[in-house]
């Protein structure tokens, strides 16, 4: 097989990661309407989502990422003028144009010398964001980069659609990258666009600009195909990443999987022979928040961090696209992890 879209990058360090969620909490068992209690119990039992955080009508991904970034910049003591690049990974932008990254450059008070752009990926977006940030730093010129990743999937779910409405929560995150660091990072990035319809918001883009059916503005998911794709692709991409890095499963401290669905995640862990303790779950409290579920789980997954060595983390994003990607990174003992809430009512 030709080794495409695999690479190793040296000399990049994670200074800190902060996740952010809306304060409004939705308890699936107590608050779900429009479904019978049995239906809700069945979905909760399988997907593992007990509660979720909801952005409501007033909070965007950018607001959650801004809250995460403000907290992160304060914790790590970076001067705003020292940030050279901002990458915003999202599929729930404020506007079709301009790029949400431009708004965030302004809102965060970053210098106009800062490069800023959006990346339109979902569940696989975090490894891609780290890859791009690491590439920019290793390429020279950029010394400090913020990778922001936020989604509001609960806002694009049709409340009457059982396959998605009890699953999704909203979250944002901010990750600070800079030159330096304890070791090489490895990335594997893959795509199969033939499954583009398996997870799609068909309306509102330029293919179908103003559909009359409002449901076309909501997400539609073929759960069976997405699950099938996950069990086919995830074990292979993890093994490919281990091979690329010259590591064994046992060398990985944590496998941080996109928090898609507890049933899928448990099946993947079992299939790959990874102990459950090495695959932290946060979707019980936060739901499937799309790609930001990875930084959210790093920050909120209660990782045990030795003081004398970096953690080796295998980050695995998979889903909408269809797109899947890994980032094998090191998280040094000095890297700051944090979590914050954005107060909201609606």
């Amino acid at each position: 097989m030709i080794d495409m879209a695999k690479c190793t990058i040296q000399g990049v360090d994670i200074r800190g990661i902060v996740s952010a969620v809306p304060s409004r909490r939705f308890d699936n068992l107590a608050d779900a309407k429009g479904f019978t209690e049995d239906e809700v119990r069945k979905v909760v039992g399988m997907a593992g989502v007990k509660s979720r955080r909801m952005a409501g009508d007033s909070v965007c991904s950018s607001d959650l990422c801004q809250a995460a970034a403000e907290s992160l910049l304060e914790k790590i003591g970076w001067e705003r003028d020292s940030v050279d690049a901002l990458i915003m990974v999202t599929q729930s932008p404020d506007y079709i144009l301009p790029s949400t990254a431009c708004l965030l450059q302004m809102k965060l008070g970053l210098p106009t010398s800062c490069a800023a752009f959006d990346v339109g990926l979902g569940c696989s977006g975090y490894p891609y964001g780290l890859y791009l940030g690491a590439l920019m730093i290793s390429g020279g010129g950029i010394k400090r980069a913020l990778v922001l990743h936020g989604e509001t999937p609960a806002r694009f779910a049709d409340e009457s659609d059982r396959s998605v409405s009890l699953l999704f929560g909203d979250a944002g995150s901010a990750t600070a990258l800079e030159a330096g660091g304890p070791g090489p990072w490895s990335f594997v990035l893959h795509t199969d666009g033939s499954g583009y319809e398996d997870l799609i918001i068909p309306g509102g883009g330029f293919r179908d600009r103003f559909p009359e059916d409002r449901r076309k503005y909501c997400v539609s998911m073929n759960g069976a195909n997405i699950f099938n794709f996950s069990i086919k692709r995830v074990p292979t991409v993890i093994q490919d990443t281990l091979d690329l890095a010259g590591l064994a499963k046992e060398d990985i401290d944590y496998f941080i999987l996109h928090q898609s669905n507890q049933f899928i995640m448990r099946h993947l862990a079992k299939k790959m022979g990874i102990p459950e303790a090495k695959t932290p779950l946060t979707l019980g409290d936060f739901g499937n928040t799309g790609g930001p579920s990875i930084p959210l789980t790093i920050a909120q997954g209660e990782l045990v961090r030795p003081a004398d060595r970096p953690l080796t983390l295998m980050l695995v994003g998979y889903g909408v696209g269809l797109s899947w990607a890994t980032a094998l990174v090191r998280l040094g003992p000095d890297a700051v992890l944090g979590h914050t809430e954005l107060r909201n009512q609606s």
Binding site: A224, N225, F263
Partner: protein, 83 residues
């Protein structure tokens, strides 16, 4: 790994937690309560776990009866001889 056709019927009953006497090759998907949009995930997972069979998207769409499950296992060489 291979099962006889009758063992497959027992296996299907177990996967969907259905009474064994209700599961025959002709039993349709809509006659099995647990074979809903969540049940299909269980079926895909158990095919992988117990038979090491990964389905294609086309095969998933074609699963409409217990007989279809038996046929897919036959196609993947997981069906042994027997009653």
């Amino acid at each position: 790994m291979a099962k006889s056709p009758s063992e497959v019927l027992t296996w299907v009953a177990e996967v969907f937690e259905a009474p064994a006497d209700k599961i025959r090759p002709g039993t349709r998907r809509d006659e099995i309560d647990a074979w809903d949009s969540l049940g299909i995930l269980t079926l895909i997972a158990r095919m992988d776990e117990d038979f090491q069979v990964l389905l294609t998207e086309e095969e998933i769409q074609e699963l409409r009866s217990v007989g279809d499950i038996v046929e897919i296992l036959r196609k993947h060489g997981r069906l042994g001889e027997g009653a």
